[in-house]
């Protein structure tokens, strides 16, 4: 069918047909293309942030579900359970708070009833049982014990020491201390402080293995004993010593310059291309309260930018053309002759330019961090304001259509803001490896150091480094 005359005729009619598009469509097309490239870069970066968030969410989900399971998994057989009233087993959802709120008094009357506070996760064990211990060493050091009293009148006798004697080796030099206790009805909650994780793991109550509560912890160990109370034989007043963290890291940066302020800003913006930059840095992190920390440090960053663009120059020229004209001669009829004619022609020349700028920045970040951890994985959110000192610049600028390369030592200051999500893994108690994708909104005063424009960047950064915990 394709060889039919009809199709052939249609094809030949339309084959060479041209319809000129509107003026300026090429420039519009190139602008649209540049915009499209900018947009297509964003998803890659946000995907990496999404992965980190997903891992964070998985850590949280693991913590949240294991919290309940740790109690639910304690299965008691009938022969393991002496006849006792039902027990309400409670867990403290924020056990590090218990550490900081450790009471000095051992008297149960001074203590707040913490049932409401600890009711975030609870399981009612329907079978009668004697004792239930739920333990959680916070970095080897804390155990929560809950038990019902044998009878309503024996609260004082069956205090922390009694439990301690029954469940732990009282002669051990590493025996736990009571951090907190609370009594309500037949239920008593004792929070012990233990220095020996193996002892906690080895505890069996009526042949039931004590299970740990898995919870998000502080990003540093809660440590050390301050004094021993000889009267009670328990270690009291446990303190948390806060470490200082030292981060050392390398930085990889992907960014595109966004020129502003300058005659060429709009045309350069269209031709902005993606560049890769790198740097390194260190920072000190000081825990404040709970999971909050402040940090500051120093980064050295080489910030690159690249612009490929064309400048159209229109010139008016005169062109001499050969033109055929006709004379209507009464004798010879129409006689053609050729004449030279001058016409004005405007010519547009495009000149390609490829400008590359390089700034060496010394950055002083000051920020706030929220950090938490689960097992060996830690997750942190860092927000900072950064003071930037442009110490050296290598600028390419346009001077009357000529590209001039300039090295400058002119110093300039600017501010930027950064947000990062840090994912860390504990190598041991002192060292941790971490990766931190972050976004930094950066401004560089390019005009001050001799460039055509000032530049803004949205740096998509990835820092990879090591954290050392200094106690």
């Amino acid at each position: 069918m394709k060889n039919n005359l009809f199709e052939k005729n249609i094809q030949s009619k339309l084959e060479g047909m041209e319809i000129p598009p509107s003026d300026g469509l090429f420039e519009k097309t190139m602008r649209k293309r540049a915009l499209g490239h900018q947009k297509s870069l964003m998803p890659f970066y946000f995907k990496s942030i999404a992965v980190v968030l997903l891992i964070g969410a998985a850590v949280f989900a693991a913590w949240y579900t294991s919290d309940v399971d740790s109690i639910n998994n304690v299965e008691l057989s009938d022969n393991q359970m002496p006849a006792e009233p039902n027990v309400l087993a409670n867990q403290e959802s924020k056990n590090e708070k218990l550490v900081s709120e450790m009471p000095n008094s051992k008297s149960s009357t001074d203590l707040p009833i913490i049932k409401n506070k600890i009711s975030a996760k609870q399981t009612v064990l329907s079978k009668p049982q004697k004792d239930l211990i739920v333990s959680k060493p916070l970095n080897n050091e804390k155990v929560i014990v809950e038990k019902p009293a044998n009878n309503n009148n024996s609260n004082k006798e069956d205090n922390g020491e009694g439990i301690f004697q029954r469940y732990f080796n009282a002669a051990s030099p590493n025996k736990p201390s009571i951090l907190k206790e609370s009594h309500q009805g037949n239920s008593h909650l004792y929070v012990f402080h233990s220095i020996d994780e193996s002892m906690v793991d080895a505890v069996f109550i009526n042949n039931i293995k004590v299970s740990r509560i898995k919870k998000l912890r502080l990003d540093y160990p809660v440590s050390s004993y301050s004094q021993v109370d000889n009267n009670t034989d328990f270690v009291r007043n446990a303190k948390t010593s806060k470490p200082i963290f030292i981060d050392v890291f390398g930085i990889g940066v992907v960014s595109k310059g966004m020129p502003y302020q300058g005659d060429l800003a709009s045309i350069m913006k269209q031709g902005s291309e993606q560049t890769y930059s790198n740097g390194f840095g260190f920072r000190l992190i000081m825990p404040l309260k709970d999971r909050w920390s402040v940090f500051s440090g120093l980064n050295v960053l080489t910030q690159n930018s690249k612009y490929k663009f064309a400048i159209d120059q229109t010139t008016q020229e005169k062109e001499v053309r050969l033109v055929t004209r006709y004379i209507n001669d009464p004798i010879l009829g129409i006689v053609p002759f050729q004449a030279w004619d001058t016409v004005d022609v405007s010519k547009t020349n495009s000149q390609n330019h490829d400008l590359r700028n390089k700034y060496t920045l010394i950055q002083l970040p000051i920020g706030l961090s929220y950090q938490t951890a689960f097992k060996k994985i830690s997750l942190g959110f860092n927000l900072s304001t950064v003071l930037n000192l442009t110490s050296q610049s290598q600028i390419m600028y346009l001077d009357d259509s000529k590209v001039v390369l300039k090295n400058s030592n002119t110093k300039s200051l600017s501010m930027s803001h950064a947000f990062g999500i840090q994912l860390g893994y504990d190598l041991n108690s002192k060292w941790k490896v971490f990766a931190e994708p972050s976004l930094q909104f950066l401004t560089v005063n390019g005009k001050k150091v001799g460039g055509n424009v000032n530049e803004r960047f949205i740096n998509k950064q990835l820092s990879i480094g090591l954290r050392y915990s200094l106690f």
Binding site: K2, L5, F6, E7, N9, I10, Q11, K13, L14, G16, M17, E18, I19, P20, P21, S22, L25, F26, K28, T29, M30, K32, R33, G36, K308, F309, A310, S350, Q351, N352
Partner: protein, 177 residues
């Protein structure tokens, strides 16, 4: 500058070469786009998107076959994408065209603009199949895949479209007489 030089320049993102290539093909490709678009504005949209695809993918052209054929395919595919995006679904048309005798010489007498206008005025169900089969040289299988229709449907629609076009040409010829 030869077409090979322009292609090499475009691969290096040379703006001058990109402009030259645009100047060389914009008019021809606009004529392709306008056959699929509902109006000139949409045709220019397709033209822009087509050139963006062209500049993004010019490095994948391996100098095998005609470059013009390659870029024409890009623009046709861009036009078909636009049709899908705008949800202008292909609709089968059941109008029965009259079986009038057609003189092929009539086409030669007509201007290219008249033919283009007749094609553009065709119902969409006819227009896409006719453009793809008679002008771009797609097979009915390719048309069926591109438009998401049955191959048999493409055949029958083409047959009807051809009769529709012939009818229009005959009636236009009568008016001119």
């Amino acid at each position: 500058m030869s077409i090979e030089d322009l292609i090499e320049g475009c691969k290096k993102e040379d703006r001058v070469c990109q402009r030259e290539l645009y100047n060389m093909f914009a008019g021809k490709m606009m004529a392709v786009c306008i056959r699929y678009a509902k109006d000139r504005m949409e045709a220019e949209d397709i033209l822009q998107d087509g050139f963006i695809k062209l500049f993004d993918n010019v490095s994948s052209f391996k100098n095998e076959g005609s470059f013009e054929g390659w870029i024409k395919r890009i623009f046709v595919n861009t036009a078909l994408n636009k049709i899908r995006m705008n949800k202008r679904e292909f609709r089968d048309i059941d109008d029965v065209a009259l079986n009038l005798p057609f003189d092929d010489q009539l086409i030669e007498k007509m201007s290219e603009n008249d033919i283009l206008e007749i094609i553009r005025s065709m119902p969409e169900g006819y227009k896409y199949v006719f453009n793809l089969y008679a002008i771009e040289g797609f097979s009915h299988k390719e048309i069926a895949d591109s438009l998401g229709i049955e191959e048999a449907s493409s055949r029958s629609q083409y047959s009807k479209a051809k009769k529709y076009l012939q009818q229009k040409i005959i009636s236009l010829e009568k008016v001119n007489l």
